[in-house]
């Protein structure tokens, strides 16, 4: 076996060992407990596959996940743009900061009346997802944009960078690691809010089916949808990580030299 194949294999083992052990433990625990509400994974997974390859895929998974991805992307763009604005402009922050902090603090389930009033109860899924997924990106971007090193700010000023260069060439890259932390948080929140938003006013989506299964006490099906959410979250997160690795390739931590940088082990 080549060295590359071996490192690849070690990587895969490292990544999945704990997960598999956890699944095995779960299987064992649920088999011992024999609780109707906690079916073993070996019951859930076949149900899940069955659901995936049923009409539910096209009717529910695709539209729901499509909304989720669109909402997340829009939240990401808006969050980064607003975050840079608020992070670099004390004036914008003083005007808008309190408003955003108030909006952020209102629990999304309580906003239904407002969404019904503004976009209508049947169209509220996308705005709800954007509203839920916006905040981690926004807050983290503000943090990142504020934290641009003073010498770099001075350098940019001295060389009279254009506003575009300043935002896209200096502030954004400097904030990017934090932006990615926000994007990853947002991604899972988008999945969560997707489910919540499908509880009312929706005729399709995973959340819709999940609640239906819950109300019908179709326990394995309910679990199948819960696990599906986990799978989707993991999938999209992995894709995002690939993008992150590319975007942050310049970071010293990605150099081969610095494998265990943080505490130097």
């Amino acid at each position: 076996m080549s060295a590359r194949a071996r490192t690849w294999l070690t990587g895969v083992t490292q990544r999945w060992a704990v997960f598999l052990v956890a699944v095995a433990a779960w299987e064992l625990a649920t088999r011992l407990a024999e609780d109707v509400f906690f079916p073993p994974p070996t019951t859930i997974v076949p149900t899940m596959l069955e659901l995936w390859f049923s009409s539910a895929f096209g009717d529910h998974m695709v539209p729901g996940v499509g909304r989720m991805l669109l909402g997340w992307a829009l939240a990401g763009v808006a969050g980064v743009a607003l975050g840079i604005l608020l992070g670099r402009s004390a004036r914008a922050m003083s005007y808008l900061g309190p408003l955003f902090n108030f909006l952020r603090s209102v629990p999304p389930p309580l906003l239904v009346p407002f969404f019904v009033a503004s976009v209508g109860v049947t169209n509220m899924q996308l705005p709800t997802i954007i509203f839920g997924a916006l905040w981690p990106v926004l807050l983290n971007t503000v943090d990142g944009a504020r934290g641009v090193d003073a010498t770099k700010v001075a350098t940019a000023e001295v060389f009279r960078l254009t506003p575009v260069q300043w935002t896209l060439g200096v502030v954004l890259p400097a904030a990017l690691p934090k932006v990615f932390a926000g994007l990853r948080l947002s991604l899972s929140i988008a999945v969560i809010v997707m489910v919540i938003s499908e509880l009312v006013g929706s005729v399709n989506g995973i959340g819709y089916l999940l609640v239906l299964a819950q109300q019908s006490y179709a326990i394995p099906e309910m679990w199948a949808w819960i696990i599906t959410l986990g799978v989707l979250g993991h999938l999209f997160n992995s894709l995002l990580l690939i993008a992150e690795r590319r975007a942050l390739a310049w970071q010293p931590r990605h150099s081969l030299e610095a494998q265990t940088l943080a505490t130097g082990g």
């Binding site: 108030f102 603090s105 629990p107 009346p113 943090d143 934090k178 932390a181 948080l185 959340g207 819960i226």
Partner: protein, 253 residues
């Protein structure tokens, strides 16, 4: 002169007032702020509501404290030992997108409908922002800081506690700010959907059940937002106090 911070909020209320005064939506459904605000003041003098308010606030607070105690050490560990990180992340990424709300019936079934359930669910939602911000902050840790500490014979744990933690702290606190809002949202959702537990969510569920007290529903909603707002303002003040060394030197510019 109006403080600038109020401009946005006042604008929001103006839009709301306008929306409910026009016939877009029955005004008994989206009650205008001119009705809601007096109701809000009334609620603050209502013992039953105050108990609900305290119950929700306290549950949120407990959840955030637990989340910090769990997520910060876990984040330090995951952020500093790449083998642990690789091993744990698959499971974490799998668990993260599972909505607390979907777990409410199961949790209610397993843990009952007392405050434990809502706190557990809120902790589940609140650990992730803190955990992630801790991990990412460690990734951004200046390697020279680590080298400096190590060169002076600081142990790995010492480096974690004396270098990694302080330099990560500002971003961790941002995570805590995110978590607080999420914990509040989950606590209230659990009160709304799981039942049996006193709090703002239950108050809103009751007030809304007959369709007659939308003003109370909205007043409680605004107050829930204000709790989160106050918590955030407190955390921001803490941030400025503790992490003055990260503040942009605006004054000089």
């Amino acid at each position: 002169m109006v403080p600038p911070g109020l401009v946005g909020v006042v604008g929001l209320f103006a839009v709301w007032e306008l929306a409910s005064r026009t016939d877009l939506v029955p005004s008994n459904y989206l009650v205008p702020p001119s009705v809601v605000l007096p109701t809000m003041v009334g609620l603050l003098g209502d013992a039953e509501f105050l108990r609900a308010l305290i119950a929700t606030t306290l549950a949120t607070l407990i959840a955030v404290v637990i989340a910090v105690c769990v997520a910060v050490p876990a984040g330090l560990l995951l952020g500093s030992v790449s083998a642990v990180r690789r091993a744990a992340m698959t499971l974490v990424e799998f668990l993260r997108p599972i909505p607390s709300v979907a777990l409410i019936p199961l949790a209610a079934m397993t843990f009952g409908t007392g405050p434990d359930t809502k706190i557990i669910l809120a902790v589940y939602a609140a650990v992730w922002p803190i955990l992630f911000n801790t991990i990412y902050a460690l990734d951004e840790l200046d390697p020279l800081h680590v080298d400096t500490a190590r060169a002076f014979g600081t142990s790995r744990v010492g480096v974690l506690g004396r270098v990694a933690l302080p330099s990560a702290a500002p971003f961790v606190l941002t995570g805590v700010r995110l978590s607080t809002a999420m914990a509040l949202a989950v606590v209230i959702s659990a009160e709304l959907f799981a039942g049996g537990s006193l709090g703002i969510g239950q108050f809103i569920m009751l007030a809304g059940s007959g369709g007659a007290y939308m003003d109370q529903v909205l007043a409680a909603t605004v107050l829930a937002g204000l709790i989160g707002y106050a918590a955030n303002a407190g955390l921001e003040r803490l941030h400025r106090r503790l992490f003055f060394w990260t503040a942009p030197k605006e004054a000089d510019r």
